[in-house]
Assembly symmetry: C2
Homo-oligomer: 161 residues x 2
């Protein structure tokens, strides 16, 4: 059974828990920017209810042009004002370098990607840089921008330092 067929089948169970229709604007006026890591079910680990927060996720949880596009729509169109970043321990982007990833992709497929992987070594430094990028974007409306690090080994979330 393909992945999508499994998901479509699993949706039947979801219908028994579905909380009903909610407004498009997030109730808690918050946007979460997090890594795509499979071990972070953000609604559970941040105590979010359905409808509470936008969730923006990419490799690393880094701030790219696409992150800023999403945050702008979240804030200007749908009224969020707080931004909470969630990076984590044992990240795939700590296990490579930008050059190594580009080399690997080129060796495997014959094509070198037109972007950099955005690998990093120090997770707290990466959160600080992400906070700086959001705060220095002049067309955003953020009132609170803070960052966290999730420990995938223990389940604990702490504020970045």
């Amino acid at each position: 059974m393909s992945e999508i067929d499994q998901m479509l089948a699993a949706n039947g169970e979801w219908l028994t828990e579905f909380p009903g229709g909610l407004p498009v604007a997030p109730a808690r006026k918050v946007a979460v920017v997090a890594c795509m890591d499979s071990r972070m079910p953000l609604f559970g680990l941040l105590g979010l209810a359905v409808g509470d927060a936008h969730v923006i996720r990419n490799a690393g949880g880094v701030v790219t042009e696409d992150t800023l596009r999403s945050l702008t729509i979240s804030q200007h169109l749908l009224g969020t004002r707080s931004v909470v970043l969630v990076h984590h321990t044992d990240c795939g982007l700590q296990k490579t370098t930008d050059a190594d990833l580009a080399d690997l992709v080129e060796r495997t497929t014959g094509h070198r990607p037109p972007w950099t992987a955005q690998a990093f070594t120090d997770v707290d430094a990466d959160v600080r840089e992400s906070i700086r990028l959001i705060r220095s974007t002049p067309y955003l409306l953020s009132t609170e921008v803070r960052g966290t690090v999730y420990d995938v080994g223990t389940g604990e979330l702490r504020e970045a330092v």
Copy 2:
């Protein structure tokens, strides 16, 4: 209490459910690309367990350079091969146009954003275009790329047409 303080406090409850440490590579070898909409708790509505799938999310669930960067890392570095797109009804990006959003941001902040919002009208057409972009990226390793539309009013997920 600030949003981040609430989330840090909520994390105590999560620790009672935390399933323990898991490998960094997603167990089901799948990456989900979805909209940031607050009404889509993807683990629940797709029947995903912690550790099953990468989750990439942005405004609209559209395929941008950052989406391709994330998928590349997901596939080349962490072994995923299926991609499942999740767009939805009542999307914020169906309620504006690229020009209207840029005008709104410029009027509010004095700065015009350097990207386009990627607004759309037909959700199925937008899923098809996202599938096309992923399938035509020569440095990806996808074996299955399919798309769905989630109905935020009923909780039902269907394959895009």
